[in-house]
């Protein structure tokens, strides 16, 4: 009986764990599909833009290139801080709180700043129906903003779990993966849509 118990314990210990936790695998598959969604949007935008003589169309406001460059830097810094939080989490979990909170704050800054820019552009006459420029701008940047808001919400939830010492490594990795996608896809959108 004792031998059987020992063997069960041995089997449990030597059982290889999954290569990827289910939450991380699910997030990765979701991110792959979202990359294709953004690729499709960018593709449509490039073809329409390529067929025009002047872009933005006459009478439409210019996009805030410089201000958004600053905001892009904030988002990239946020991604870096969340990455640092992930590194710290693998060692001393208490050390992860600082970069995690700072990354969240910068992510929130990005979303709020985008909101202000949108309000200004709407006031200048760039709407969803004002031109193909406005349609594509709000469709592409709006889709990204939606992802950023959802990812930020997941990170806030993960931060709350971390504060209560209930955050599992796989949950944190999945949340970070989604945020890395939001951060990583933005420079591509900025270069294509704003410049």
């Amino acid at each position: 009986m004792a031998q059987r118990d020992l063997r069960l314990v041995h089997d449990a210990a030597s059982e290889p764990g999954p290569i990827l936790p289910s939450s991380v695998l699910g997030t990765l598959i979701f991110v792959l599909t979202e990359i294709m969604l953004f690729a499709g949007l960018i593709s449509a935008f490039m073809i329409v833009r390529g067929g025009t003589v002047e872009w933005p169309p006459p009478g439409q406001p210019r996009l805030p290139v410089e201000a958004t460059a600053l905001n892009t830097a904030a988002l990239l810094a946020s991604g870096l801080l969340i990455w640092m939080a992930g590194r710290a989490y693998r060692g001393d979990r208490a050390q992860a709180g600082g970069p995690f909170a700072a990354g969240l704050a910068l992510g929130a800054f990005f979303v709020v700043f985008q909101g202000f820019e949108w309000a200004r552009l709407l006031a200048q006459g760039l709407t969803l129906t004002s031109s193909t420029h406005g349609s594509f701008f709000y469709l592409i940047v709006g889709t990204h903003a939606l992802h950023a808001i959802v990812a930020l919400g997941i990170l806030v939830w993960a931060f709350q779990l971390h504060s209560r010492r209930e955050l599992r490594p796989s949950t944190f990795t999945a949340a970070r993966t989604f945020w890395y996608f939001v951060v990583g896809v933005w420079p591509v959108l900025y270069l294509r849509v704003y410049l």
Binding site: I42, I47, G50
Partner: protein, 82 residues
């Protein structure tokens, strides 16, 4: 007879591409649009393959890492330990 006529119309259509507007996205003959169309078609063709290929490559590398870690954890049997 009807089949031959259909084949004839099909051949005539392929011989007169300038009169055919079958592609729903070919709304502009501008060079910029054509280049963008070609580039993005290539991108959308290659991207899913690259993503899945990259993911498979990463999984394979991760499996090898885990295997080598597992091998290092197995105690080496020496004559003294027997």
């Amino acid at each position: 007879m009807r089949g031959r006529l259909a084949a004839l119309v099909l051949v005539a259509g392929t011989l007169a591409p300038r009169s055919s507007h079958a592609c729903a996205v070919c709304f502009s003959g501008a060079d910029g649009a054509r280049v963008a169309f070609l580039l993005t078609t290539a991108l959308l063709t290659v991207l899913p393959l690259a993503l899945l290929g990259g993911f498979a490559w990463w999984l394979r590398r991760r499996m090898r890492e885990l295997d080598s870690d597992a091998r290092e954890d197995v105690p080496v049997e020496t004559p003294q330990s027997r």
